[in-house]
């Protein structure tokens, strides 16, 4: 029952890659959080400009 869903596994791996990339320094946590919340494209685009 505690097994992660396929989506969760993909998100974990994705988050790991984003966190380890310098280009996302300062925005990685916010980005991962937005993706997890399925935020709108607009919100993600705004964040990427930061």
């Amino acid at each position: 029952m505690s097994r992660k869903s396929v989506s969760e596994l993909i998100f974990d791996k994705f988050a790991e890659k984003i966190r380890s990339n310098d280009l996302f320094e300062g925005i990685s946590d916010d980005l991962i959080s937005l993706v997890n919340q399925r935020a709108s494209e607009k919100e993600i685009k705004e964040l990427l400009k930061r």
Binding site: M1, R3, S5, V6, S7, L9, I10, F11, K13, F14, E16, K17, I18, N21, L23, F24, L31, V35, R38, E41, I44, K45, L48, K49
Partner: protein, 819 residues
């Protein structure tokens, strides 16, 4: 979760049914149209709140409230309900769901509601039921439809939606970058035109500005900024209107237009771009390869020269594997290079087109400034429209090319058109000649520096914008590629696990001819590719060459493999709704073995119209007689008419109590015939006489079964003696002695159930006469079943280095070495 008892009221074709599986497997059998699937629907409804049959393709006009209940209950849904007592993690709970409120599951005691709902998440995937329709979805469906089915099982629709959003973000970032790049080129061009520079560079601009400052007795500055351009220079009035163009600006703009349209470089780039786009469109697969770049790189690094795939561990049989991977890698490199070239060239052309458009607009403004007559207005508008189309096409060149939105007028045609010269450039040349030099050098210097302040500000902003958009683009690229890599890596792992189990299950079912079976399950864009090896002749779609029976097996095995991965222990139930149709008896036995081996803790609910398969499930020990539910008939008022399978000996006893020996004898003969047919199958009995009809009677079956049994038992005794297994020897010798006595007794009594005995003879037979016959056969039947687990004893042959032949039961109590 396992069902202990189940009560169904007014669901689908059922009026009222109660069954008590007590957590064990259930077999529901009977002819078509007797309501078996309604029981499956009811369990489905209890677990999920929906009925799978009423949703999805082909069920557009079906509604749960109208079609989920018994047809006579549509106007009163209060009593359309499924109630089950179930066991969840050792706790007993009562679940209840009604068609009236399908989304509300009542759980007693209420404190276990969360626990139950947690388990039911597994059922929500729909992977607890396999029907004939589902098999078609897995096996014969097109790759795209299968992908949707599996993606929905894996809950990947959400992932796909997110990926689409990332693609859109990346595309937007790419477009923004191209616009920013083009804006910067325009800003540079305007600065260069203002300062009469043939090539823009910040150093050249600084030199020019310092030159103009000298005209105005200003000192040299070391850095250009809007604030420093006129720093410490005495202000003077502006010679022009501030928004007017200087003569130099106009002249330089004209020069730039001529330079662009006469440049062969842009024309060459156009040809090159077209060639690349044709190549990319032709080789759409090349773009797909880009996704596997890293995988191939890793694969190549891991290859050890053995031609073994480091990922799946299988031998590559189509030549040199390293060479194959290298070729693919080279193709990827080409695809990558092409993509990069397309981006570079389209950006170059866009910037030229945008600068040209800007220059033309500046020239039109100059026309107004000189009050020149506007000629060829329509032609100029068409010309500018064509340039706009080119500019847009260069933002998404592949899309424009593939969707046939490519500009209709080529750049060669546009650049060689005389309309620019005739309509704009020539009249402007004449106007400038007429105007001559109106202002002093100092005034021109002041005016140019004033304009430069604004142009330089725009240049700096454009530069910043390009830098920012480049960073955003790189981030957007990375987000998409990281997401796809994460998805592919997770899915590859999952597909690998599913494929391994699928192959293992399938090989179990078809061990005799598919021992080298292999398959491929992979994701390619929006498709799920599923291919199977056809006896070493290559990979094919599963429904291409394999027989119907093999396809059914594949559907079943893929379902089991997906179920194993996705459901695990979340819901301990598998419902097989009349799926074993084209599978023959031998392979059905393998299915039983597979179910026992791979899913020992699952509660199976199996429906079938095939009585032989139902009986086989019992004799293989998958279900006890108590949980064999015979659906005899159905009518609309009563729903299914069912009978719990009774014990043969109880039925015979009932006949004898009524002193009806003929009925008892008939039952005994009919059942004995089926029984010994099974025994011959399980023991792989020898000694059946050849018959072209392949039909044998009770005497022939019983004789072959008994002689085979005796032969094996004797061999087991001899082997135990040889191996000095004293305890086993004693047990077997005792059994042999008892068996001989039982067999002798049954042979004496066999005449009594012989069909050739004249019917009248039974009239002389009473209860007392027939009881010894029943007793002899009851004892004889017992010889072929385990006294502990009740399963039939079976011959098992194992191959390998030390081949073994055994007679065994399911629980292992019967274990004879007959090697």
């Amino acid at each position: 979760m396992k069902i202990l008892n189940l009560e169904i009221k007014n669901i689908r074709g059922i009026k009222t049914i109660k069954i008590d599986p007590e957590g064990h497997n259930v077999v529901v059998f009977g002819p078509n149209g007797t309501g078996k699937s309604a029981l499956v629907d009811a369990v489905d409804f209890l677990l999920t709140g929906r009925i799978s049959r009423l949703v999805g393709e082909g069920a557009k006009f079906l509604r749960l409230k109208e079609h989920g209940c018994h047809v006579d209950s549509r106007d009163d849904l209060r009593n359309t309900v499924v109630i089950a007592k179930a066991e969840v993690e050792g706790k007993t709970v009562v679940l209840e769901r009604s068609i009236e409120r399908p989304s509300s599951l009542k759980v007693e005691p209420e404190q276990h509601k969360d626990l139950v709902e947690g388990y039911l998440e597994g059922a929500d995937l729909g992977l607890h039921i396999l029907s004939r329709r589902d098999i078609l979805n897995y096996i014969t469906a097109e790759a795209g439809k299968r992908a949707k089915q599996v993606m929905s099982l894996l809950n990947l629709m959400d992932i796909e939606k997110l990926r689409s959003a990332f693609v859109s973000i990346r595309n937007d970032a790419e477009s923004n970058f191209k616009y920013a790049d083009s804006n910067l080129e325009k800003a540079k061009s305007e600065v260069a035109n203002l300062l009469s520079l043939s090539i823009f560079s910040e150093e050249a601009c600084l030199d020019k500005v310092n030159g103009l400052r000298e005209e105005l007795n200003g000192s040299r500055i070391s850095e250009l900024s809007p604030e420093s351009i006129k720093e410490n220079i005495e202000p003077r009035p502006f010679g022009f209107r501030e928004d007017a163009l200087t003569t130099n600006q106009i002249m330089n703009t004209i020069d730039e237009i001529r330079l662009i349209i006469k440049s062969e470089e842009t024309i060459k780039k156009e040809v090159e771009l077209r060639t690349l786009l044709e190549e990319v469109s032709r080789e759409a697969q090349l773009r797909q390869y880009l996704l596997y770049d890293k995988l191939l790189e890793t694969g190549l690094a891991l290859l050890d020269g053995s031609n073994l795939c480091p990922l799946c561990g299988k031998v590559w049989e189509d030549g040199d594997f390293r060479e194959y991977l290298r070729k693919k890698k080279d193709e990827i490199e080409i695809a990558k290079e092409n993509q990069v070239k397309i981006d570079e060239i389209s950006r170059f052309i866009k910037s030229k087109i945008d600068v040209l458009t800007n220059d033309i607009n500046t020239s039109l403004k100059a026309h107004k400034q000189f009050s020149l007559e506007v000629i060829y207005e329509k032609e100029m508008k068409d010309y500018l429209d064509s340039l706009t189309t080119w500019s847009e096409a260069m933002v998404k060149p592949v899309e424009f090319f593939e969707k046939e939105k490519w500009p209709t007028r080529s750049l060669t045609e546009l650049f060689s058109s005389s309309v620019l010269e005739t309509a704009i450039l020539d009249p402007l040349d004449s106007a400038i000649d007429k105007v001559g030099v109106k202002f002093s050098k100092q005034q021109v210097a002041w005016d140019t520096l004033t304009k430069m302040e604004d142009k330089w500000r725009i240049y700096i902003e454009s530069l910043e914008e390009k830098k920012a958009s480049e960073k955003t683009k790189t981030r957007a690229d990375l987000i998409l590629s990281n997401f796809e890599q994460a998805r592919d890596s997770v899915l590859e792992g999952i597909y690998d696990e599913v494929r391994n189990n699928f192959e293992r299950y399938y090989k179990t079912l078809h061990s005799e001819d598919e021992y080298s079976f292999s398959s491929k399950i992979s994701h390619e864009e929006a498709e799920l590719i599923f291919e199977v090896n056809f006896y070493g002749r290559g990979m094919f779609p599963p429904h291409a060459l394999h027989s119907e029976g093999h396809q059914d097996s594949m559907g079943l095995c893929l379902f089991f493999a997906l179920n194993k991965y996705l459901i695990k222990d979340a819901i301990n139930m598998i419902i097989l709704d009349d799926v074993i149709m084209s599978i023959d008896r031998g392979h059905r036995r393998n299915i039983c073995a597979l179910l026992k081996d791979a899913f020992p803790d699952k509660q199976l609910i199996i429906t079938t119209h095939d009585t032989t398969w139902a009986r086989q499930l019992k004799s293989e020990g998958l279900v006890t007689r108590k949980n064999m539910i015979h659906f005899l008939n159905w009518n609309i008022e009563t729903g299914p008419i069912i009978e719990m399978e009774k014990d043969l000996w109880d039925k015979i006893k009932e006949d004898l109590e009524k002193d009806d020996a003929p009925s008892a004898a008939h039952k005994l003969r009919r059942n004995a015939e089926c029984f010994f047919d099974d025994v011959c199958d399980f023991l792989r009995a020898t000694g059946l006489p050849y018959k072209a009809t392949h039909q044998w009677d009770l005497g022939e079956f019983a004789s072959a079964a008994i002689s085979t049994y005796k032969k094996y038992l004797r061999r087991a005794v001899v082997n135990s003696k040889k191996m000095d297994q004293q305890e086993k020897l004693c047990e077997l010798e005792k059994l042999e002695k008892e068996a001989n006595e039982v067999i002798s007794r049954s042979l004496i009594e066999q005449w009594a159930i012989n069909r050739n005995v004249h019917y009248d003879r039974w009239e002389e037979f009473g209860k007392r006469d027939f009881e010894p016959v029943v007793c002899a056969f009851k004892d004889l039947f017992k010889l072929f079943a385990c006294s502990s687990c009740g399963s039939m004893i079976t011959r098992i042959d194992s191959e390998g280095e030390t081949p073994m032949s055994l007679i065994a039961c399911n629980c292992g109590k019967v274990f004879w070495n007959i090697q």
